[in-house]
């Protein structure tokens, strides 16, 4: 409440700015607790599903649930950082698709070992991300338009690489490894690298100067520049990191479904953006945290999985995704509005003595 009274001090400002700061503090308060709200919603959803949906809390289902979430969770990590800087990357799913088909084509025709191919695929992802980065930071183009362009370009190239064929003859030892459990549990091994990545991204975002700089950029590019942050270079490397993670996801996707196809991961970019926004990251940039995003990914996964088990048509489930996204942006603003209104009324009731 201390900062509340700080903002409420009626200096000489006009009614308009007073109203705006009131809304701002309300918004900040809500967003600060948004992480908590998503975590609570997640716990409630999981408990409800565990009680009311018969096969939800079984080891086998948990395994499937987590495996399904691995690509989404991995892609959401770099996306969080990118959105916080005020940019967006819509090309992630197409990058995954292109990495997957290149992996298939290399395995089919190059005779390289699969280990080497995996390294090459991650490098390819990084290069594809760097292309985005060059267009956005080098040429100063809006990332929304650039990545819609590369969304089409990379998806098209992934069809060029493999046509409408699929490569499916990956060694069984590799495809089995992608879906193997941690011994003695029903948690897939693939969750471990996701946790590791989440830790790395979390530390970078929340515990380093570079992470603080991302927020500064998202709030005001120019101010960040004057404060000595190299905005262009940082954003460039974020796009590279995003591409490299797409390479990893491409490898996982290919091995998990034992199939490299041109249409792998089509449309996933919108789900990733949904998860990030649901996790409380502001699309304007400058606000949000990784904990909320991880909780958002899990919430999305739990709800979809439980409803699917409850025999709701998988395609109709997109209603849930859409409604969650809309609610997650409408609610905080509505709450902030109400708070600001209450705050103003309180102020009017007991005016500050001069």
């Amino acid at each position: 409440m201390a900062h509340d009274s700080l903002y409420a001090a009626p200096s000489s400002s006009s009614a308009e700015t007073e109203r705006r700061t009131g809304r701002l503090t309300g918004l900040r308060g809500v967003l600060g607790s948004w992480d908590v709200a998503v975590v609570v919603a997640l716990v409630v959803a999981a408990l409800l599903a565990g009680v009311s949906v018969e096969s939800f809390a079984t080891g086998r289902n948990v395994q499937f649930l987590l495996l399904d979430l691995v690509p989404l969770a991995m892609l959401a990590l770099p996306m969080t950082l990118i959105v916080i800087t005020g940019e967006i990357d819509l090309s992630v799913a197409s990058t995954v698709g292109l990495c997957s088909t290149v992996m298939g084509q290399l395995w089919l025709s190059s005779g390289l070992s699969l280990e080497l191919i995996c390294v090459l695929v991650v490098l390819l992802g990084a290069v594809l991300g760097a292309v985005n980065g060059v267009f956005v930071t080098g040429f100063g183009l809006p990332s929304l338009a650039v990545t819609i362009g590369t969304l089409a370009l990379y998806r098209g190239l992934s069809f060029v690489v493999l046509g409408d064929q699929a490569v499916a003859d990956f060694p069984a030892s590799w495809t089995a490894a992608a879906v193997r459990d941690i011994p003695g549990t029903s948690i897939p091994v693939a969750v471990l690298p996701v946790l590791l990545l989440a830790l790395v991204f979390g530390v970078v975002l929340h515990a380093t100067a570079a992470g603080r700089a991302l927020y500064a950029m998202g709030n005001n590019d120019q101010a960040a520049t004057f404060a000595g942050v190299s905005v262009a270079r940082t954003k460039f490397w974020l796009f590279v990191a995003s591409g490299a993670v797409c390479g990893l996801v491409g490898i996982f996707w290919t091995l998990r479904y034992a199939s490299a196809r041109g249409d792998n991961a089509t449309g996933l970019e919108l789900t990733v953006v949904t998860a990030v926004l649901l996790g409380g990251v502001s699309i304007f940039g400058g606000r949000g945290g990784l904990l909320g995003v991880v909780a958002g990914v899990l919430l999305l996964g739990v709800l979809r999985n439980a409803l699917q088990l409850a025999d709701v048509d998988a395609n109709a489930l997109t209603i849930v995704t859409g409604a969650l996204l809309v609610a997650s942006v409408v609610l905080p603003n509505a709450v902030a509005d109400v708070r600001a209104r209450l705050h103003r009324r309180r102020q009017r009731a007991n005016p500050v003595a001069p």
Binding site: F135, T137, G138, F139, G140, L141, P142, L144, A145, V146, I148, G149, T150, L151, A152, L153, Y154, R155, G156, L157, F159, V160, G163, D164, D221, Q222, T225, F226, V231, A232, G262, T266, G267, L270, V273, T274, L277, I283, F284, D313, N315, A316, L317, T318, I319, V320, T321, G322, A323, L324, L325, V326, V329, V330, N333, A334
Partner: protein, 353 residues
């Protein structure tokens, strides 16, 4: 150089070009800056090359197919132009189209005797209703349209799937008078394309010549300034989303008439093509500039690329890649021209000082 210039490090300007060179470049630049003209040139070159390769590309049937193919995308691109000009975007158009198409089919299933103008009106009304949901939510939430329409993209599509629950509607379920809308021609021109031309003309004229149309550009250039100068920004943006929804509804009805076979997946993924057409057509993604004519030409160009690749015997898998490259080229060109223009203006003001 002023301080504000150093704020954007990538905006590096070269030395101002000298005398005659500047003059000549100014002319070509001005020609390029009229996006409709450069689009027409690109379209002409594409058609020329394709026809030289295979002269049947300009035969009556092929042209008719081409015009039919681009009509729906043109209508959607024009609607999207209205939205993008105000610095918003509507990603839900593909879902609205799918929902309205399926609703039209269901209408004929339930009431086979419905005359087609009623079906068109109902479809447009349903689309406008979806647009009003978008506009209303944006007004309440005060967040970018990107987020809200991403949500309604899923929601409308989900409703569509829930409603259809796996059913499919076939051409046999719809009256012949309605299906004729989809393939009838007037003097050799498909009716569908004429509808698209009417939409382009009306919206293009409105954006260019009406006060409220010009206000949309003001809103897109600088919303705060628009508000201060007395433009009812909220009301205009809401109206724009309703109009775009109505056009998507119209496109949905025409989709039903053209294809006859409908399931819940109709129009999936169309939204990105629509945005691509508008961007290629010179509608700046951050608002404030662009025309309906440009967006329509962009849509025609994208459709033509698709069919000429087939004629040129280029692997059809290249089509999407070409579209992507074209988007990047279009926004890159815009940026380059804007930078040159800024540099020249600066050079001129420096001379004048």
């Amino acid at each position: 150089m002023s301080l504000t210039d150093t704020g954007t490090p990538h905006r590096r300007t070269g030395n101002p070009p000298t005398g005659a060179g500047r003059h000549r470049r100014g002319l070509t630049e001005r020609l390029l800056a009229v996006r409709e003209l450069s689009l027409l040139l690109a379209l002409g070159a594409l058609i020329l090359v394709t026809t030289l390769r295979n002269d049947r590309f300009l035969s009556g049937q092929s042209v008719k197919d081409l015009l039919l193919g681009c009509a729906i995308l043109v209508i959607l691109a024009v609607g999207q132009t209205l939205v993008i000009v105000t610095r918003n975007v509507d990603l839900s158009v593909g879902s609205i189209l799918g929902l309205v198409a399926f609703a039209t089919g269901s209408l004929f299933l339930a009431a086979p005797g419905t005359p087609w103008p009623v079906a068109v009106l109902l479809g447009v009304a349903l689309g406008a209703g979806c647009g009003a949901v978008n506009g209303g939510l944006i007004a309440v939430a005060k967040v970018p349209a990107l987020v809200i329409t991403l949500g309604t993209l899923y929601a409308f599509r989900g409703i569509d799937y829930y409603w259809a629950s796996g059913r499919q509607i076939n051409a046999a379920d719809m009256p012949r008078s309605f299906l004729r809308l989809g393939n009838q021609t007037v003097l050799g021109v498909p009716l569908l394309f004429l509808a698209a031309v009417v939409v382009v003309a009306v919206v293009g004229y409105y954006l260019r010549s009406y006060r409220s149309g010009r206000e949309l550009y003001a809103i897109g250039s600088e919303p705060a300034a628009a508000r201060l100068s007395g433009i009812p920004v909220g009301r205009r943006v809401f109206a724009v989303f309703v109009a775009n929804g109505a056009l998507a509804g119209l496109a949905g009805v025409l989709y039903a008439a053209r294809f006859g076979t409908l399931d819940a997946a109709a129009g999936t993924g169309l939204e990105l093509q629509v945005v691509a057409a508008a961007v290629v057509g010179g509608v700046a993604i951050f608002g404030g500039s662009g025309s309906a004519y440009g967006a329509a030409l962009g849509a025609v160009l994208l459709t033509t690329i698709g069919s000429s690749l087939a004629v040129l015997r280029i692997d059809p898998f290249w089509q999407q890649a070409v579209v992507g490259a074209l988007i990047l080229a279009a926004i890159g060109l815009d940026r380059l021209l804007a930078l040159r223009m800024a540099a020249r203006l600066r050079g001129r003001s420096a001379h004048g000082a």
